[in-house]
């Protein structure tokens, strides 16, 4: 194990996680709103924002799937050291991290009719994140919002599954935005 995997976690875990969760919660409650988070310096290729989300939400109870783009020994060691989260195939994962093209969307858990909450939260690493492109409508959005999505068809399909479906967090550097299953994308 290299020294780098033992660095880059929250300096003050309780307080840093509280601020980070507030930001993630605002993002999930207001789809399209871009928030800034801080406190994690994970090894490449994981972005700081995705690192913050992992540190804030993952622990030994949450299997994580690393897509091919992010499945490096160093990152595995970092996540294990800081969270203890087990790694899993896509179909068993509660969280997934990766670049859009490498995420096996069809394999993730969508939840069940009785428990639609038992679905995967997908953290998508993006090169750009801005309030333009696809138009978003739905709960949490006053009239409409805009967000630079990798595509629209996958999210249209996902929204049709409601109340089942995946929830997405898009990360870019220290910024993130979210797209729950309720958001209708055009």
């Amino acid at each position: 194990m290299q020294a780098q995997v033992l660095e880059g976690g929250f300096a003050d875990p309780s307080i840093d996680a509280a601020y980070a969760f507030r930001a993630v919660m605002i993002a999930m409650a207001r789809p399209g709103e871009i928030v800034t988070v801080a406190g994690a310096q994970p090894p490449a290729p994981l972005s700081a924002a995705a690192g913050v989300v992992v540190l804030t939400l993952c622990d030994p109870e949450t299997p994580i799937h690393l897509a091919a783009s992010h499945d490096t020994p160093q990152l595995r060691d970092w996540i294990t050291f800081y969270t203890g989260a087990p790694f899993a195939e896509a179909r068993h994962a509660m969280f997934a991290v990766g670049a859009w093209d490498d995420l096996p969307l069809a394999d993730f858990r969508l939840g069940t009719a009785e428990y639609p909450d038992r679905s995967t939260t997908v953290i998508v690493e993006r090169r750009n994140l801005s309030n333009d492109g696809a138009v978003l409508v739905g709960p949490g959005i006053k009239e409409k919002a805009a967000l630079s999505l990798p595509e629209t068809q996958a999210f249209k399909t996902n929204a049709k599954l409601f109340p089942l479906g995946l929830d997405f967090i898009f990360t870019c550097g220290e910024r993130l935005a979210a797209l729950p299953r309720t958001t209708r994308v055009t």
Binding site: R22, M25, A29, T56, D59, D117, P139, F162
Partner: protein, 289 residues
Amino acid sequence: MSDYNFAYLDEQTKRMIRRAILKGLAIPGHQVPFASREMPMPYGWGTGGVQVSAAVLTPDDTFKVIDQGADDTTNAVSIRRFFQKTAGVAVTEATTEASVIQTRHRIPEQDLRADQILVYQVPIPEPLRFLEPSEVETRKMHALEEYGLMHVKLYEDISQHGDIATAYAYPVKVEGRYVMDPSPIPKFDNPKLEMAGIQLFGAGREQRIYAIPPYTQVVSLDFDDYPFLPTKADHACDLCGAQDSYLDELIVDDAGGRMFMCSDTDYCTTRRKAGHVGAQGVPYEKDAA
């Protein structure tokens, strides 16, 4: 600050609650199970709301707690002090100054802003529970969107009382999908469930968390010929004269004397400070008890 971890709960518990809150926001009105912890207060005193608040608070927050609209009752005071001690957060009684408001059975009269979070204490999260005691069955009813029983209940109200007699915990449908118990708020408050702030609901004993994101459609169930009516006592506040606020009726002597006053104490005090005086009120004095 204190020897407690920030906001009392351990980090793993907070992560579990935080994950439930995010799924709750992603599926508005759906009850997400969570592993509720024992809190240093009895069930029924807001253990669900306290756990949600503990998972949401940051050191920068200003925290307000209301119990039936009042900031100065035992329940409100003890929860406010609990987080003063364990999270070191600032506290307030003013609705406009609070960033997180924990509430039992009321929504503040003052409209909440987009940057405010309302945390409800919920006794029975399942709106169908008194109609169907089995959790397995009610889960199935939510899954199949089978809500006919709730309409039968409201219909029986009309056939027995001539009107929908349900006055609090009035069932709502969220975003056209899940029927949800808004906690025992008076139905007067139901229209306020569509708001700019984030609403989180925590039921400690029943181990459920649910949520309503901002600007989410929340419709009170009714019939075309018996539309939903938010009602209040047909009176003005005797202390501040407000015509538009939800009122408590207070018996003031042994001779049947009574008065009506705002249930939202901050709203009433703010109006009295601004010079409004009700029928039985006196002008507000700064040092008055």
